[in-house]
């Protein structure tokens, strides 16, 4: 990992069109500003990691079709919510 030290207000340019700026430091929290092309995906690490973890669980769960079938009555009734 490349390690750089920056002062408040200073930035880092990454490749063509991505810029990271240190906007504030308070205690153990750092505020970071990011400029990037709109198609660049930017996520907080932990949020992305949770999506990955959830997808893995979703793909691994309910291997048996009948497991899902047992779930259906509750779902279908829930679907009917709000209908007369």
């Amino acid at each position: 990992m490349l390690v750089l030290t920056r002062k408040l207000g200073e930035g880092i340019t990454i490749g063509n069109g991505i810029r990271v700026v240190i906007l504030g430091v308070r205690g153990n929290k750092v505020r970071v500003g990011i400029e990037a092309p709109p198609q660049t995906e930017i996520y907080r690490d932990e949020l992305y990691a949770r999506i990955v973890e959830e997808n893995r669980k979703a793909a691994g769960g309910a291997n048996a079709l009948e497991t899902t079938a047992r779930l259906l009555p509750a779902l279908v009734q829930r679907r009917g919510r709000g209908k007369p």
């Binding site: 949020l47 979703a58 899902t68 779902l75 829930r78």
Partner: protein, 150 residues
């Protein structure tokens, strides 16, 4: 083309119905082509079945079946990646996590819906800014029996 799956046996799939995930699905970056299969005619659950990987499938559902006022904002970058100009031109579904042996504890990932451009068949799982839960219990606060009594 023929597709051999662990859950549905061997099925014939037309190329023109496949969905293309340019970046894969988070956690499964190398699998890009999927098809949607019905669970059965009655069921609101469908399956997002990988084309190249017969043992990879996600149970999915229309989020409006769970949360009637589900509204999400898809980023301009994601819209561009899908080739749509407005989010109302997209089809949205969410992935279910169904614990083995405990389907009543099933949750839906409302924070990261899958959006599809039905015209180009480009698809993507997006992270929305709205603070929806990643693990929304589908049998949550509404005891089914109570609701049905009304």
């Amino acid at each position: 083309m023929k597709l051999t799956t662990t859950r549905f046996g061997t099925i014939e799939v037309a190329e023109e119905v496949t969905l293309h995930f340019s970046d894969g699905i988070p956690g499964f970056p190398d699998t890009r082509r999927y098809i949607i299969l019905d669970h059965d005619k009655e069921s609101p659950i469908k399956w997002l079945q990988a084309v190249e990987q017969g043992d990879l499938a996600f149970p999915i559902i229309d989020p409006y079946d769970l949360v009637a006022d589900y509204r999400v904002t898809v980023s301009p970058g994601d819209l561009a990646a899908l080739g749509v100009d407005q989010s109302r031109n997209m089809v949205t579904f969410v992935i279910l996590t169904i614990p083995n042996g405990a389907p009543e504890r099933t949750t839906a990932n409302l924070r990261a819906p899958v959006v599809v451009n039905p015209n180009t068949r480009l698809a993507k799982q997006v992270l929305v800014v709205e603070d929806y839960p990643i693990r929304y219990p589908i049998a949550e606060t509404n005891p089914v029996g109570v609701e049905c009594a009304t």
